[in-house]
């Protein structure tokens, strides 16, 4: 056993080091994203935000962490104890497990030995594996909601079920076009195909795919426009009503991990990953180039994270029928049309940049649905909010 261990050490240590990086960085990131979120929220609302603990309030996150660890363990009488404890940890496990196949820095596709910014490089089905694991993240919420044995929690869990099932379909469909043209499911290969000029980034010929992917991935993170499983005004706290202290934090650590994953995936699949015009390919490159690539990737990721945080203060929450309608009547048809476009381009051998024309699709869809909504308003006797318009005649 020991001799085998030594024999495998050269291939083992990069994976172990990458796991260590993920385990160390993710909780830290979760803590500080709450801080960033509070600061951004404060500036959006013309406040100052946390500024008392440490310089610029930087230690606020640490203070929050200590406070939450020292909180009393409160277990309500009526919960199903085993599942009640499993649920938060399961949701964090799935959130972190998805990072196994995600490159968090420049990875060369020749997979030379040494540290590689990735736990499991060279997996054939990379992106599929990612989708498979993230499809499990619903279990934490559902089991937690059910085990809390509380009406509000169960409503949260049921909403989460419906939301996950619906939004998984556009999530998978939107990246099919990218996969079809790249010819690989491997995330490193997909990034490699975007090297070269700026126009090689997937976003410049798959804008609809990026929109659909980002929206449905956001829905899977339960962030604000899509936070119906926990919406405070209707369900107290939704699935986490009965959770407090560290168990509550595990749920939210999982949510922030999801945000990081979504941002990384958006940057890797659509924004060129670690590539930037003028920066050489990571294979055989020096440490400086690798560090630059890492910086480029992290800059793109933080841009996407900032968009996600700002969206929270820009968009109101959906109503449930609007949520379902957006997935089934909006995103899935858009993704399908986009896929048909990719198929046409591939079959006829046309240049793939013709697909930039699909960018008009969401605009057309928005125009069409707005026109339809207005028409339905005019044809109704009553407005949606139940107020009788002046001079309206009832035909009943």
């Amino acid at each position: 056993m020991i001799s085998r261990f030594i024999e495998y050490w050269p291939v083992l240590w990069p994976a172990l080091a990458a796991i260590a990086v993920i385990l160390a960085v993710v909780p830290f990131l979760g803590l500080y994203m709450t801080f960033i979120e509070r600061k951004v929220a404060a500036y959006v609302q013309d406040r100052v935000g946390p500024n008392r603990v440490g310089p610029f309030g930087l230690f606020q996150a640490v203070a929050d962490g200590i406070k939450i660890f020292l909180k009393e363990q409160l277990i309500p009488d009526h919960v199903y104890t085993a599942l009640y404890f499993i649920a938060p940890s399961f949701s964090l496990i799935t959130a972190m497990f998805a990072l196994v196949v995600m490159p968090f820095g420049p990875v060369a596709t020749d997979y030379k030995s040494g540290f590689r910014f990735m736990v499991a490089p060279g997996i054939d089905i990379g992106i599929l594996m990612m989708l498979a694991i993230s499809s499990l993240s619903a279990y934490g919420i559902i089991v937690g909601g059910w085990a809390s044995n509380n009406k509000y929690s169960i409503y949260g869990a049921i909403r989460s079920c419906a939301q996950f099932i619906s939004y998984e379909i556009p999530l998978g469909m939107s990246i099919l076009g990218v996969i079809a043209i790249t010819g690989s499911l491997n995330i490193e290969q997909i990034v490699k195909a975007q090297s070269g000029s700026l126009l090689d980034w997937n976003v410049f010929w798959q804008p609809v795919a990026m929109l659909v992917f980002f929206t449905s991935a956001l829905a899977e993170t339960n962030r604000l426009p899509f936070d119906l499983p926990e919406c405070e005004q209707e369900l107290v706290g939704g699935f986490h009503t009965e959770y407090s202290g560290i168990k509550f934090v595990l749920f939210f650590l999982a949510e922030y991990t999801h945000i990081v994953t979504v941002s990384f995936l958006t940057a890797l699949l659509f924004l060129g990953g670690w590539h930037f015009p003028g920066l050489p390919d990571p294979s055989g490159a020096s440490t400086l180039v690798l560090a630059l690539g890492l910086l480029v990737l992290l800059a793109k990721v933080s841009l996407v994270v900032m968009v996600i945080i700002l969206l929270r203060w820009a968009l109101p929450r959906f109503r449930f029928d609007q949520l379902m309608g957006l997935a089934w009547k909006g995103l899935i048809p858009l993704a399908l049309v986009n896929l048909v476009g990719v198929a046409i381009v591939l079959t006829l051998g046309l240049p793939k940049h013709l697909l930039i024309a699909t960018a008009v699709l969401p605009i057309l869809a928005a125009y069409y649905s707005a026109a339809k909504f207005n028409a339905s308003l005019e044809s109704d006797n009553t407005l949606r909010n139940g107020i009788q318009p002046q001079g309206a005649v009832s035909y009943e």
């Binding site: 030995s113 599929l128 498979a132 279990y139 059910w146 869990a157 998984e168 499911l185």
Partner: protein, 273 residues
């Protein structure tokens, strides 16, 4: 430095010959598991705690027996743990009184089976199973179960009419599976050749061609290295050449099912009067 310190000679042949037991051991295992199934499937699922404990103990003993007859290496042991977890999840699925627990047992069984597939390098099928079963099907089950939740269990939820027949059928199935698994065939690694009209999943020569190349111990390591275990790209190629008809038929069935669902979901038209 060689990135993978694996002897290429060990790479090509994938054998399923890890189980080193003989026929009597297999028989004993099957009988033990069958008895455990019977004890766990008493009237009213698990009627008494003693029966449940006896069944679980028998199951544990059978697992231990199977564990003893695998070679002491890391991979078979991890695979064995996944297998035991899968069977335990299946047992929980069948014997649980609470329907949500049953669904979670099913999820455990499916995920552990995916673990076994990962250990066998069947990445694509494992990921597909995770997405389709664990990610979608069981979540829909849970959705329905939570909607239809009721406080009292009905007699038909727990009463099992004839546990003996159920356990007997399960034992026969188990024996058939154990029998076919104990004499494994070889899975030949193939050379992915994009010029061939058919992939190599069909044994024997493709129409108009000679026999496909097969790895041979006399070959040099560099020649052997050209043979790789089947990969996702090979699977895709095989699906859209050898099994094209089956894929198209499955697609047609799904399309018909979708149309049926749309028709069923339509609201009845309102009476104009």
């Amino acid at each position: 430095m060689n990135p993978l310190p694996i002897d290429p000679k060990n790479l090509p042949l994938v054998n399923g010959d890890e189980f080193q037991g003989n026929l009597s051991q297999i028989l004993l295992l099957v009988i033990l598991l069958g008895t455990a199934a019977y004890l766990l499937l008493q009237h009213g699922l698990v009627k008494s705690k003693m029966m449940a404990i006896a069944g679980a103990a028998l199951f544990g003993f059978a697992a231990l027996m199977a564990f003893m007859s695998i070679p002491m290496q890391l991979e078979p042991i991890v695979r064995m743990c996944f297998s035991i977890l899968a069977v335990a999840g299946a047992v929980a699925f069948v014997t649980a009184r609470e329907s949500v627990h049953a669904a979670l047992g099913f999820a455990t069984a499916v995920l552990s089976a995916c673990g076994v597939m990962f250990m066998q390098s069947a990445y694509f099928i494992a990921a597909a199973t995770m997405i389709v079963y664990a990610g979608a099907t069981i979540i829909i089950f849970l959705f329905v179960l939570m909607f239809a939740q009721k406080s009292q269990l009905q007699w038909y939820d727990v009463e099992l009419k004839n546990p003996l027949i159920a356990a007997g059928v399960a034992t026969c199935l188990l024996f058939a599976i154990a029998w076919s698994v104990s004499e494994p065939g070889e899975i030949l690694p193939v050379k992915l050749d994009l010029t061939r009209p058919y992939s190599l999943s069909v044994p024997g020569p493709a129409p108009g061609e000679g026999m496909p190349p097969v790895p041979d111990p006399t070959m040099s390591p560099s020649q052997l290295a050209e043979f790789t275990p089947a990969k996702t790209s090979g699977l895709g190629r095989s699906m859209f050449t050898d099994y094209l008809l089956a894929i198209e038929l499955a697609g047609t069935i799904l399309l018909v099912a979708t149309l049926g669902a749309i028709v069923l979901a339509q609201k009845p038209e309102r009476d104009p009067s």
